[in-house]
């Protein structure tokens, strides 16, 4: 076995193209998942028992089954029903790209909703009572106190979730998408140098992970800046 650096160099542009697809998948479904997760989390944290039970089945299903099954269920499964094939949704559901986005969004929303629920329940009671004392209405309390506080608390865990999403996004290659893993597989089919190309792909994932961790540290520092606040001490006082 001889290690072939030149094949990595030669095919790097193709892998970099894959990086953009991967990032697109992660950020688009991450964003949509977050938008979906917030109302779900508020329902899960609600005091109404029925409201709390409603998203349970959805979250239970998406957290308890492999993502690969979810992707295939949407991509291949949708074609079983003529009603879907004839509907206006079909142009979207026949595209592997959108199927991947839908599957990732639903998957990450289920995990994120539970994370946010945990964060909402971790907000100190006194802060909510203080909001009540100020006469805030429920919607205002949620908008001004509950959600901003929950985001600060959830951020480290959400960073981990996004990194898991990045790794899960490699499953998009199973439905023909050319993300990093997909690009690597097509290159290997031609060159038959699996070790070199998968090594290069792995390094790209590591690099993206490292950058994401760095970004989250910055956002975390900014969002939780009250924790680092020092009362300015004036000289001569």
């Amino acid at each position: 076995m001889n290690w072939n650096w030149s094949v990595i160099y030669e095919y790097m542009p193709r892998l970099i193209d894959g990086v953009w697809v991967t990032l697109e998948l992660v950020f688009l479904s991450g964003l949509l998942g977050l938008i979906l997760a917030v109302p779900l989390a508020l329902m899960r944290a609600s005091h109404n028992r029925w409201l709390r039970m409603l998203p349970f089945g959805y979250i239970f299903f998406f957290r308890g089954t492999p993502l690969l099954v979810q992707i295939f269920l949407i991509y291949y499964g949708a074609s079983q029903f003529d009603a879907i094939k004839e509907s206006a949704l079909w142009p979207i559901l026949k595209e592997p790209y959108w199927c991947a986005i839908i599957a990732f969004t639903l998957n990450t929303a289920a995990y994120t909703a539970e994370l946010i629920r945990g964060a909402i329940q971790a907000i100190p009671k006194g802060e909510l009572e203080a909001a009540d004392a100020f006469g805030m209405s429920r919607p205002m309390k949620i908008r001004r106190i509950v959600l901003p506080r929950a985001f600060g608390i959830v951020l480290p865990a959400y960073g981990n979730e996004l990194i898991l999403m990045l790794k899960s996004s490699s499953l998009a290659s199973t439905i023909t998408l050319l993300d990093i893993t997909g690009a690597a597989r097509t290159i290997i089919a031609r060159t038959y140098t699996p070790l070199e190309i998968f090594f290069a792909a792995g390094m790209l994932y590591l690099l993206i992970t490292a950058i994401m961790i760095g970004c989250f540290r910055l956002i975390e520092h900014r969002l939780n800046r009250y924790q680092h606040y020092k009362v300015p001490t004036e000289p001569g006082r």
């Binding site: 076995m1 239970f60 299903f61 308890g64 089954t65 492999p66 993502l67 690969l68 099954v69 979810q70 295939f72 269920l73 291949y76 499964g77 949708a78 074609s79 079983q80 029903f81 990045l166 790794k167 899960s168 996004s169 490699s170 499953l171 290659s173 199973t174 893993t181 690597a184 597989r185 290997i188 699996p194 070790l195 998968f198 090594f199 792909a201 792995g202 994932y205 590591l206 992970t209 490292a210």
Partner: protein, 230 residues
Amino acid sequence: MDLLGFGDLLLSGTWVTIKLALTSLVFGLAFGLIGASAKLSSFWPARMLATAYTTLVRGIPELLLVLTIYFGGSMMLMAVAEKFGYTEYIEISAFAAGVAALSIAFGAYSTEVFRGAIQAIPKGQWESAQALGMTRGKTFFRIILPQVWRLALPGLGNLFQVLLKDTALVSVVGLNDLMRQAYVATGSTKQPFTFYMAAAIIYLGLTVLATLTTTWLERAADPAARGARA
């Protein structure tokens, strides 16, 4: 379970999935314990190696790991075998590649769980064991490890859930697991939704079973909880 005559096929796949998950769990736990001991070792090359292992494996997708070991593993093995004068073709089975990839991944995550658990045990216990004349090795196996089990269980339970779901990835390299058999059934019946849904429900059953087992083990490992029940 009939499912258009494919019920038995799905069940046989479920059995393969269970075997894959449990085999990987055993090797993964071993990797995790070795990794944690290396991370806490006073010998710096061991610490560095363990850190490289966890950083590397936790940063790359499990699917990529499965593909690398399945397609690249036989090349690596053949290169090693050639050094010993063996020149025949070596092929890695999908099951072996799956066990290798999943246990390496599980090992990397459980290294951190074990490390946390070991560090959570008060230093005084090491010191009192030393005062009793126990060697470090004896202290580890008799005093620390039995307690690590209780502290690490919740974390390990979560990791096993992840492992169970990741077994589906090995179907990509052709292992006849539950996911693969659902795919096969889909091919001849043209009913993808039915079979992937059936597979999803079986996976759901397995994860629920794993959760129940973990809860039971946690109770059994915690003397305080046991006392409360009696």
